[in-house]
Symmetry: C2
Subunit: 131 residues, 2 copies
DNA sequence: TATACTGTATATATCTATATGCACAGTATA
DNA sequence: TATACTGTGCATATAGATATATACAGTATA
């Protein structure tokens, strides 16, 4: 399975963190169902051209947070998490990042009305680019 | 002058970076006009309970980016930047962070319609909390 | 001129992310 | 059983970001 994991090595965000966030989005968003095998740490490390340790760090974090299960010798698999938890992760993640964006806009002295205008513009451009 | 600079020492974002961003917002947003003296690095360091070096790093970055002017012995002052540049900084900063938030929502498998609903909810709560 | 402010420079410390190598251990399967 | 996959553990190295202390230098002004 070809996973859409893409990392940026220049980003201020740590690589393991980028991996964690992307898997969280894929799992909570319903693109990866319980039991689906993840790539082995060696394979993912090779694909992303990063060290095994970095991949392992990401998988450990994901396991601690309950999104995946690893078993030695077998591999790593998407955990069986409740629909409720998925929803909670989705809602809080998205709500927080959107709220933060709005707060930033306000700190730049934009009015709520102006923020709304810019936001709707962005949505419009996404609709076009989507197809 | 009492500046509304607030930092979080737990944040993943570097302290000097938080300071830079907040001053940029204050200057580009029009809350600080050209010539206004900034607090000396020692005063701001004491207020924020951080080292002088960190404050200096922030001021150096702000000077490189053209937002402030420092002169040894005299102090640090808001630079005289054009209205156009201010506008550009405002627009790009806010547009980018909003777009990034929308992209994150999409990665969680939200539809554009759902993102809009959440966004409007946030705006509503901001209106109330504003007064 | 004395002093009390400004910013400047340097050497060092600490933390985090990342990388490397190697040995170990569990599992599947030809 | 042999082999080739899985994940685990550990010790160490390196680079970069971040923070600190301390001493130095310019400026304003009583």
């Amino acid at each position: 399975m070809e996973l859409p994991i893409r990392i940026s090595k220049d980003s201020r965000e740590p690589i393991y963190h980028q991996i964690v966030n992307q898997f969280k989005a894929l799992i909570a968003g319903g693109h990866l169902s319980a039991g689906t095998p993840l790539p082995s740490i060696r394979v993912l490390s090779k694909d992303l051209e990063i060290s095994i340790i970095t991949t392992r760090r990401a998988y450990q974090d994901l396991e601690v947070q309950g999104f995946i299960k690893t078993s030695q010798g077998k591999g790593t698999f998407v955990a069986d998490i409740s629909e409720d938890l998925k929803q909670e992760v989705k809602v809080t993640s998205v709500y927080n990042i959107l709220e933060n964006a709005v707060d930033t806009a306000l700190s730049y002295d934009y009015s709520l009305e102006q923020v709304k205008t810019i936001f709707l513009e962005i949505l419009k451009s996404k609709e076009k680019g989507d197809i």
